[in-house]
């Protein structure tokens, strides 16, 4: 609790007893205090940064991985991801939930990275894809659809349909993904001519519109059940194996539902990484990067920029949509408030903090931001403060991100000595032959 007290003092100073909120003398004092404290903190950081204090990622050597950076090695990351939940099971269920949630962030960050990192389209409405995937799964895999159909066409549809449609996740996951991909194209089309800040503002608007749509689409036909959200959503199942069944066990060891979902999301991440890594070093990925670097020159080089931008939205949307479906199934309840703008901002920050245009970067960024964010959920508004501090520190000390892509790394001059004295990058064409 002392930590809380200290943080509260940091935020409110000696004026903590004044009621904050609304415009009054007390809140003005607190505001001045905050400006002074954080302004000072910021300046101190800037001065430290000027002094040449740079943070580098520790170059840990592991046996059998001589000279490799373990965080860059996909096999190491995968091994950690595979074993982690088993270790956590020994410590009880809570951390498994945490890991599972962070893992969803990872999936989202890697998906958004296609749009922001590779193609350079600053998308602040990524949560919309997540929401579409979640709602598509939620509506189809809960009594919601049947009840609505019965209420609307009661003369055609008998009440017995009300128990919902039960379809294997092998079908539902791609459907949710494709719906979100289609939605990506749909919101992509009107934004094609926009760039940079303008694109960010419009996509932000679309993200909010999606949420408000979900909130209001309970009349005239009850599709989303409005602010109450969709409830009684089925667990994922494949064949006769339901992910939510607490009776699942291997031998004497029981398998908690979250473990199922954890490995499902891990599988989705592996698939996503497979897609992104392959695309990045091919004709399509090069075209995306070219669009990021200079859209006009890309068009002149013969790239159909419209189609490729839509393709990027669709790809990012697909993975975001699948993440949404898993989220809906895992939590059994979805409501519009699960899809706030802040989630878009959070995921975007994960991509930026991790390093744009780098898959491992997005993953590590998602952990670096998602983990403290999720763990601090009991600190209420303080969690946003922690988040802000992380951002300021990152932008000051390591603007290229934790694990930047090779290109960005070279851009910020990590020189490899090849005689020319100039930064050296492998061409994507060579990377793929490694």
């Amino acid at each position: 609790m002392n930590v809380l007290k200290a943080l509260e003092f940091l935020l409110h100073g000696p004026f903590g007893d004044y009621p904050v909120g609304g415009l009054n003398f007390g809140s003005l004092l607190v505001l001045c205090w905050q400006v002074a404290v954080f302004g000072g903190l910021y300046l101190a950081i800037r001065i430290l940064a000027k002094r040449g204090l740079r943070v580098s990622i520790p170059h840990v050597r592991l046996p059998g991985l001589a000279g490799r950076r373990p965080l860059r090695d996909v096999r190491v990351l995968l091994a950690i991801a595979l074993i982690l939940p088993l270790v956590e099971m020994l410590t009880g269920g809570y951390y498994l939930t945490v890991t599972y949630n962070v893992e969803l962030y990872v999936l989202l960050a890697i998906g958004l990275n296609i749009v922001v990192g590779y193609t350079g389209l600053l998308d602040l409405g990524y949560v919309a894809f997540f929401a579409v995937g979640a709602y598509v799964y939620g509506i189809f895999a809960s009594p919601q659809l049947g009840e609505t159909l019965h209420a609307t066409f009661h003369f055609l549809v008998p009440a017995t349909v009300g128990s919902g449609v039960h379809i294997s996740m092998l079908v539902m996951l791609p459907i949710a993904g494709l719906a979100a991909a289609g939605f990506g194209v749909l919101i992509g089309i009107p934004t094609l001519r926009l760039r940079g800040d303008y694109l960010a503002i419009v996509t932000l608007g679309f993200g909010e519109i999606t949420r408000i749509f979900a909130q209001n689409l309970d009349t005239p036909v009850n599709i989303t059940n409005g602010p109450n959200g969709v409830v009684r959503i089925d667990d994922m199942f494949i064949g006769g194996y339901s992910f939510g069944d607490i009776a699942n066990h291997i031998g004497p060891i029981s398998i908690p539902p979250f473990l199922n979902y954890y490995y499902l999301v891990l599988l989705l991440i592996v698939i996503t990484v497979f897609f992104v890594a392959r695309l990045a070093t091919s004709r399509v990925g090069r075209a995306w990067t070219a669009i990021r670097e200079d859209e006009v020159a890309a068009e002149v080089a013969g790239i159909h920029t419209r189609n490729l931008k839509l393709l990027a939205y669709a790809s990012g949307g697909f993975f975001g949509g699948m993440a949404g479906a898993v989220f809906a199934a895992g939590s059994h309840v979805i409501a519009p408030e699960s899809f706030q703008l802040f989630l878009s901002v959070l995921v975007l920050c994960m991509v930026v903090v991790g390093g744009m245009g780098s898959i491992q970067g997005a993953a590590v960024g998602a952990v670096a931001i998602g983990l403290p964010y999720f763990l601090s959920s009991q600190l209420a508004s303080l969690r946003v403060l922690i988040f802000g501090v992380i951002l300021v520190l990152m932008i000051t000390f390591r603007p290229q991100g934790l694990l930047p892509s090779q290109q960005r790394q070279a851009e910020l001059a990590e020189t490899v000595d090849d005689g020319t004295g100039l930064p050296h990058v492998e061409a994507a064409a060579d990377l793929r032959q490694l």
Binding site: F274, G285, R286, E293, V296, A301, G302, Q407, A410, A429
Partner: protein, 253 residues
């Protein structure tokens, strides 16, 4: 028939007539130059040829077929490539990747082909890398293929832009002031390279301010002033033309 034909090409921006009723032909296999004082409308002509601007009236005709209604990327696919007056490379990509992007419209790999690395995709990628290296070699950039475009010296960036344009296997290459900002030695080399490219079968249409370069390599020169063509012909004839001298030096010269 000429490879490229500009017929009554006009472009106005509001009240400003940037290009006025321009008729011009670029013969296949030639090096044709477009010169004129600053602001004469030369780059506007290029922008219309590459479909960046829609002409107010008139037509751009490539091999007898008007390009009206095409998007810039389809014009590239039809065989016109260009460089820019202010260099527009993909700065954070390697030189090799820049050239590979230039080959985009000659490659057929699809999304799924890229994800699953189909045999045709791999074969195409390999062939494209070879072709790209060949173009880099032509421009003397092979040694620096792995450097980021933005880290190359200015003269090499200009060359890289030409290499990227060549990668789309154009019939017609538009060069917008390729010699700008290069030193005399580089200009000589550049003229050599442009001739070489022409000799390999690519027609060159050039905007250039450096008269040594223009007069040295052009087969045909056209002069624009305030959007209107004031002279056209062999380099030697254009140089003597009173209207051209007046446009460049003023009435009293």
């Amino acid at each position: 028939m000429a490879l490229l034909q500009l017929s009554h090409l006009t472009k106005t921006f509001g009240g400003l007539v940037a290009v006025n009723d321009l008729d011009l032909e670029v013969e296949a296999g030639s090096i044709t130059s477009l010169i004129g004082p600053n602001g004469a409308g030369k780059t506007t002509v290029f922008n219309m040829i590459t479909a960046f601007y829609a002409p107010t009236s008139g037509d751009v005709i490539l091999e007898g077929v008007p390009t009206s209604g095409l998007k810039p990327h389809s014009v590239t696919a039809r065989g016109i490539a260009r460089t820019f007056q202010n260099i527009r490379l993909f700065g954070n990509m390697s030189a090799l990747d820049n050239v590979l992007v230039g080959r985009h419209c000659r490659m057929r790999a699809t999304y799924w082909g890229s994800v699953f690395r189909t045999r045709s995709e791999r074969r195409e990628e390999k062939a494209s890398v070879e072709a790209a290296r060949h173009h880099l070699d032509t421009l003397g950039l092979l040694k620096r293929q792995y450097e980021l475009a933005r880290n190359l010296p200015y003269g090499l960036q200009r060359r890289l832009e030409i290499a990227r344009a060549l990668a789309s296997e154009p019939k017609l290459l538009l060069l917008d002031e390729p010699a700008a900002g290069t030193n005399p030695q580089e200009k000589v080399e550049l003229s050599q390279v442009i001739r070489e490219i022409r000799d390999r079968g690519t027609t060159i249409f050039l905007i250039e301010h450096d008269m040594k370069v223009v007069m040295g390599i052009s087969d045909h020169v056209a002069v624009l002033d305030y959007g209107t063509k004031i002279s056209e012909g062999l380099p030697a004839d254009v140089r003597q033309d009173a209207a051209v001298i007046k446009a460049y030096l003023g009435a009293d010269a």
